[in-house]
Symmetry: C2
Subunit: 243 residues, 2 copies
DNA sequence: GCCGATCAGTTGTATATACGGCTAGCCCTG
DNA sequence: CAGGGCTAGCCGTATATACAACTGATCGGC
């Protein structure tokens, strides 16, 4: 293994198996089963751990998923959204002909962290409402979401967060989500969120950290959404800047 | 390991080691060395493969990087860009006080693929110029880039692509990059690009597939940039859409 | 003083083995 | 006929071992 070498002349066994499986996956439909690790080790004449390493790489790219005790299956392709327009997740899913739903992982009222105090422009020692959810399309997890609201929005706690719309709730409370700023990056899924998202630990996530302001320009919501890279995409239109 | 369980009560040994290393990494500077796999296996009383699994997860999240024969080191933090404004990579790096550079991996004149023919609105059997580069900041790879141009832009082949600016070259040829559309997602680094980017295979990449149009609205460039998630971020401003 | 060879230490790849926990299907019993 | 238990097969975690390849430091010879 060398740095900077574009194409090594040596190909690890796990890599060759990985490429062979990629070709097969292209011919299969989502949720179709793949050969087990034992079957692959027999087929390719390698140890189970080497076959497993090959599959692990496909898992981490979101091409397949594993279920303990069941097997390895082809994963579904991603969904997309325009980045300069935030619409409700469920509205967007329906627009794409998919069935949206949410799983609430945790809702808690707690003190704001210093970073949250700054971003949300809260007074010192203010409280916040923190809502942790998994967003699903057709029963497939697409994103985990951590949303933080100023404590004055405590009536959100009484809302039906699994079935209702957070944004409609905010409008009802007199705060219309109007403008936002987001930072987009990528990260690998940690163990806990990998389980929530039903992906392998290490899978690539599109990470959106956004601040939403209301009609008066006041911060309303500080949210981090972590989308499974192979199940979600954002569309952007931009100008090309010249010096 | 169960689906949907937020916090397992069983903690794998590799996971505990991973978390301990995360805490240490927070106290170190980029490029500082971490203990070797052998040292970690002694320190935590596990096999080298288990210690290695823990480090592999940190590598795949971009927190550390490995070099065969040398060791494991703390990785540098990411860079950022506004998504609604595309500026030249090198201009943006300088704006952030960093030293930009490029490594040309390959420049080739070839026939367009059907997808490229469609996106670039080329006539049938048209040729294209394909340029494959690694973009670096302070000698650290930040992105790999595959740019495809219509064949009529063949004079690009004569440009100094490692040191010069592609966009300035385009302006010289009478085509001013003006507007673009991009799709953003995340993917895990494959083996070859992982080597080019000096990250572990499987590291999360922020993937931007963009089409740039010239001043007349004609397609000029079809590019896929794959940014190391922990070395790069995009900023977006958006409106919140209501039903 | 410089260069080449060697060695120690590092990561990379691979195998074999073992046990735990989960799932689903099948069979037996009530 | 339904439910419960058992089993086979699956993935998850872990260990031990071995060899390959790379890097950098040191030492010896010229």
């Amino acid at each position: 293994m060398s740095d900077g070498t574009a194409v090594p002349d040596f190909t690890p066994r796990y890599y060759a198996i990985e490429q062979a499986l990629r070709a097969r996956i292209a011919e299969l439909a989502p949720n179709d089963p793949l050969p087990s690790e034992a079957e692959l080790s027999q087929e390719f004449g390698v140890s189970r751990m080497t076959a497993r390493a090959a599959v692990t790489r496909l898992v981490s790219e979101g091409l397949v998923y594993r279920q303990s005790g069941r097997g390895t299956f082809v994963a579904a392709p991603p969904t997309r959204r325009r980045a300069d327009s935030l619409i409700r997740f469920s509205q967007e899913m329906r627009r794409q002909g998919r069935q949206p739903s949410s799983q609430v992982v945790e809702v808690v009222r707690r003190g704001a962290t210093p970073a949250e105090t700054g971003r949300l422009r809260l007074p010192r020692n203010a409280g916040v409402i923190a809502i942790h959810r998994v967003r699903l399309a057709d029963q497939t997890p697409v994103a985990v979401e951590h949303a933080v609201f100023p404590g004055k929005l405590a009536p959100l706690l009484d809302m039906d967060l699994a079935n209702g719309s957070l944004h409609e709730a905010l409008v009802t409370l007199g705060h219309v989500p109007t403008l936002g700023h987001a930072t987009l990056s990528a990260a690998n899924a940690g163990t806990t969120e990998a389980q929530l998202l039903r992906v392998e630990t290490g899978a690539a996530l599109l990470v959106e950290r956004r601040l939403i302001l209301d009609q008066d320009g006041k911060p309303l919501e500080l949210t981090e959404s972590r989308y499974v890279g192979d199940r979600y995409a954002l569309d952007v239109t931009f100008d090309v800047q010249h010096p």
